[in-house]
Symmetry: C2
Subunit: 290 residues, 2 copies
DNA sequence: GAAAATCTCTGACTAAAGTCAGGTAATGCT
DNA sequence: AGCATTACCTGACTTTAGTCAGAGATTTTC
């Protein structure tokens, strides 16, 4: 009962029955589960029939029939794809959007009622984030995004908050806020966000300079996503992006109060170099030739 | 993407697809899921047909057919119940036990491979415990157990460990180890463990004395299960048990380093009284008339 | 000791999900 | 231009899950 395997299995049991309840609640709108799932996939922005089929793991025959039944019902319309008339694109009709909204309301209500039952909301949410990240870690998508997008700003906010907690002297955000944004856009640099489903769980910036190297800045991984080697993936992706931008030399600075970071750099081909800027926070400096 | 409801829904999505994978893996033994579930329920000690039916939420006709198919396969035998010949009792044959063991091995292997993928094992397990407790909180069973049972000892071990962390001066286990066990058995007292599925997540002892009152000792709730009002349920159950044992007056001691406990007592009809023992750890004393 | 209730089983269904083998039209490749 | 490939559709089928009414045996209740 106390060994790790039993604990995982207990979790599986608990979650299996909860998921069953979730599923059956989707039956309340007079539509079989399969059709409801297709409708919701379309509502969530999956329009390509092949994409939906793949996402839901359906046979093409079955998928076709489910789509047909949704069309007959008047909630979905399909058209040929613009660029390739073999492919079909599905979209919701007005009625379809109403139905989708009803499913969304149902899901939101369930989530809210779950949250309302528990007083330790923050701890529970943190635990859920962690497990969701672990379960979907093969599906974490690293995407280049604008450093001023909502996702990027969320990550940066969390990043600064964490620096504030970890540095003995605190961390003054105003010092480093946004002036770098323009250097972290193509073609000078880039900004990469790791998205797990809809939640940003990590980021890194590549900041172009005029000194013959680019800098890696603001590497952050959400606490809930640590242990998934996401830092390494983010660094790899940044190095790839740098190579594609024709950058041959990378530098970065960090602080010895963040030992995981130093550890990561040391084991991935970075070598320590002398201080190369006068920023007050960092006390460790690295360089890597691409 | 950042609001609590979205986070819960992200968790639901992540877990739904994981559970789907778990389910389909049970199909690898040439038996439909329904039959596999019945076989596993029997393997886990549910022998009464009505009990299994209830647990799996099956119609009696369907249940009957599933049982029959398992019998035809030679993995299950049924007999009439000893005391009531209308009821049937199912048990595994030798082949059945082998099949059950294969399912168990599969589940264990899956749990292990999940754990092996993640470096933050302890944090992940704690998160899983927390969520499993939250999901199954309606199904937490409070059971009277021997204070020296494995479950009770696990709880007590965790309890002492926590006291050690929370008391400034630490906590010396040897002082309070086991001498009370005999006073926490019927008819002098009792010991109640809160079980969530197979995991003990809380406990409380009722210790009989010869001074005209009984003491409540060792109230503990697992960190993963806090916020579920389990402490209150444990106290209620103990008071009920005390009433059934004919005890009219309860006392307890606690420490101001455990503010949740003091808070609980104050809001549930206990009144503070002067020190009534010379135990070095407690600094707060309460009494309640039943 | 008769009537009511309980437990399981059987027969006769239905609905949903899934499989498989073509078929049609569009597209890609040489 | 011709052939292979791709994307989707259709028809014909099977399996699984589930429902419902009633039968048969047994136990409980009065």
């Amino acid at each position: 009962m106390l060994d790790p395997v039993s604990r995982v299995r207990r979790f599986n049991r608990a979650v299996t029955s909860a998921v069953g309840a979730l599923d059956t609640s989707f039956l309340g709108r007079g539509r079989p589960l399969g059709a409801a799932r297709v409708l919701n996939a379309i509502g969530h922005g999956r329009t390509d029939v092949a994409d939906i089929r793949d996402y839901l793991g359906l046979d093409s025959g079955l998928m076709s029939r489910l789509l047909r039944s949704l069309e007959d019902e008047g909630v979905v319309e399909t058209h040929a794809h613009e660029d390739d008339a073999r492919r079909r694109v599905a979209k919701l009709t007005r009625t379809g959007r109403r139905e989708f909204a009803a499913y969304e309301a149902l899901s939101n209500a369930q989530a809210e009622s779950f949250l309302a039952k528990h007083s330790q909301r923050d701890a529970l949410l943190a635990a859920m984030d962690m497990i969701a990240s672990a379960l979907t870690r093969e599906r974490v998508a690293l995407t280049e995004m604008d450093p001023q997008s909502d996702e990027a700003r969320y990550c940066l906010g969390e990043y600064y908050a964490e620096l504030g907690r970890r540095f003995k002297q605190g961390f003054d955000v105003s010092l480093s806020r946004d002036p770098d944004a323009k250097d972290m856009r193509r073609p000078r640099g880039t900004f990469i966000v790791a998205m797990s489903d809809t939640l940003p769980i990590g980021c890194v910036g590549l900041k172009g300079t005029d000194h013959g190297y680019a800098e890696i800045k603001r590497l952050w991984v959400a606490p809930a996503a640590r242990g998934l080697r996401l830092g390494r993936r983010l660094m790899d992706a940044t190095e790839d992006a740098a190579r594609r931008l024709g950058i041959a030399l990378l530098r970065l600075d960090t602080n010895s109060a963040l030992p995981e970071a130093g550890q990561l750099y040391r084991t991935t081909g970075w070598r320590e170099i002398p201080r190369f800027n006068d920023d007050p926070y960092p006390d460790l400096f690295f360089e890597k030739q691409l």
